[in-house]
């Protein structure tokens, strides 16, 4: 069937007198990247009916050390009435697997950079038209500039070599959407701070405390100035029961950003756990005042913190000293 169609298409092309030679696009798009690259070890899961989503996801998860078969993922990402899977559900399933889904910058250069770092890229393609879309997920495993081809794990094809123009058109019709799967603590090849921190933060509720510590610690090493990275790290430390480390981290945020309502609120929580009630109440009240002005969205959670603080028991001795630190800021 497909052979027949191809023959027909070829005949049609000939009869229309279509250009016989097509210019190579890859060398023009990326003149520096002349070396071919292919991640041959990338596993392959031929898709069952309609299920390129689970198959493509299983492929990139496996590369990041998660052994889930497409069949295990169908229940997590497939929507029967849509006969397919939604992009955000691929992200959600990645989080459930204890990994961080990172959306790459929508460029061919970013895609190549991930391949060079050893990570295959799960892409959305529109194989049809803007008005008549045919959505499909595949995994890019290689780029061959000399042959002007992109190499994919796609559908039932283990090693699909797609003409670069064809691939790029289908990818562009899907807004160049591509994701890689990161182990907690791993950095993407081309990273933007906000993109990565958002990716980690949205995965946070699904990650183990250890994974969160690892992910935020790496982020903090890259961006020591990032309040969000430090916040995530402090939050993980608190969850791990490392109270004095958590307190130190929150205090550092507050000393640099005195109006960081969320950090103040969480600092109050750590202080409570340390038995420093007077101080916890003072800090939580400050959090509330700041949030009322700057971040009305946090007023609710901070009010809850205040309400949950135990009616002041006697503070422990060591708290007095810490009090000074809060007053300075």
């Amino acid at each position: 069937m497909s052979g027949g169609i191809r023959a027909l298409a070829a005949a049609a092309a000939l009869s229309l007198g279509a250009c016989a030679t097509r210019p190579s696009v890859l060398p023009a798009l990326m003149p520096q990247a002349t070396a071919p690259i292919e991640l041959r070890e990338t596993p392959f899961f031929p898709q069952a009916e309609y299920q390129c989503g689970p198959a493509a996801l299983a492929t990139v998860l496996k590369t990041a050390g998660v052994a889930l078969k497409p069949d295990n993922l169908v229940d997590q990402v497939y929507v029967p009435a849509r006969q397919g899977s939604l992009q955000v559900e691929l992200l959600a399933a990645t989080r459930r697997a204890g990994r961080i889904p990172y959306l790459i910058e929508p460029t061919l250069a970013a895609l190549r950079a991930e391949l060079e770092a050893g990570r295959p890229v799960l892409v959305l393609q529109n194989l049809g038209l803007d008005l008549l879309p045919v959505w499909h997920y595949a995994v890019v495993v290689g780029i061959d500039p000399a042959g002007d081809q992109v190499i994919l794990r796609s559908g039932v094809e283990r090693r699909l070599r797609s003409r670069a123009t064809t691939f790029l058109r289908s990818w562009e019709l899907a807004d160049n959407w591509g994701m890689v799967v990161l182990r907690p603590g791993e950095m993407p090849a081309r990273v933007t701070q906000q993109r990565l921190l958002t990716a980690i933060a949205l995965a946070e509720p699904m990650l183990s405390v250890e994974a969160r510590k690892r992910a935020y610690r790496t982020a903090l090493e890259h961006w020591p100035e990032s309040a969000t990275a430090r916040f995530g790290y402090a939050h993980a430390l608190h969850a791990a029961g490392e109270l004095s480390a958590a307190e130190a981290s929150y205090r550092e945020i507050v000393s640099r950003h005195p109006r960081h309502a969320a950090a103040l609120n969480n600092l109050a929580g750590v202080l409570t756990d340390r038995g420093c009630h007077t101080q916890a109440v003072a800090v939580a009240n400050r959090a509330l005042a700041v949030a009322t002005d700057d971040q009305p969205g946090l007023v609710g959670p901070i009010t809850e913190t205040l309400r949950s603080l135990p009616a002041s028991a006697g503070d422990e001795d060591r708290c007095q000293q810490v009090d000074e630190a809060v007053r300075i800021h």
């Binding site: 497909s2 191809r6 027909l8 298409a9 049609a12 092309a13 229309l16 279509a18 898709q47 309609y50 390129c52 989503g53 493509a56 997590q76 929507v79 029967p80 009435a81 849509r82 006969q83 992009q87 955000v88 459930r96 959305l124 393609q125 194989l127 049809g128 038209l129 008549l132 045919v134 959505w135 499909h136 997920y137 796609s154 559908g155 699909l160 289908s170 899907a174 921190l197 958002t198 949205l202 946070e204 509720p205 935020y216 969000t228 916040f231 939050h235 969320a262 609120n265 969480n266 949030a291 700057d294 009305p296 969205g297 946090l298 609710g300 959670p301 809850e304 309400r307 949950s308 135990p310």
Partner: protein, 126 residues
């Protein structure tokens, strides 16, 4: 008679005490980094009620579209508030990557013609 009265008083007491106890029982969790990054420019969050409505709505839409009732809650739990809201508003318009077998009927004929003319490349399996 006296017993019933006593029982009622006891019930009332239990009820009022449990209500009194509520605020103390609600354990305030620290604010998560996921919440922090979802604050918008004006420092607002989707309210708890709006979030719950979006969640309920997506749940109902998923169930209608054949998602297994035993799986639906776990799937929703892994979505961010923003993602939930997006699904709630446009679940049927968002791309759903599936197999090419999903292309049927008129769509198939139109695409086949376009394929022959060389506009699309579905059947050469891109």
């Amino acid at each position: 008679m006296k017993d019933t009265f006593r029982k009622m008083v006891a019930m009332l007491l239990i009820l009022s005490m449990s209500l009194l106890g509520l605020p103390a029982v609600s354990l305030a969790a620290p604010i998560g980094t996921d919440t922090l990054v979802q604050l918008d420019q004006r420092g607002e969050l989707l309210s708890r009620i709006e979030t719950q409505l979006a969640r309920d709505d997506v749940r109902a839409q998923f169930l209608q579209r054949g998602v297994s009732p035993t799986e639906v809650d776990a799937r929703i739990a892994a979505l961010s508030t923003e993602e939930l809201q997006m699904l709630s508003m446009q679940l049927d318009e968002l791309p759903a990557g599936g197999s090419l077998l999903a292309v049927i009927g008129v769509v198939f004929v139109v695409l086949l013609i376009l394929e022959l003319v060389g506009v699309t490349n579905i059947f050469t399996k891109v």
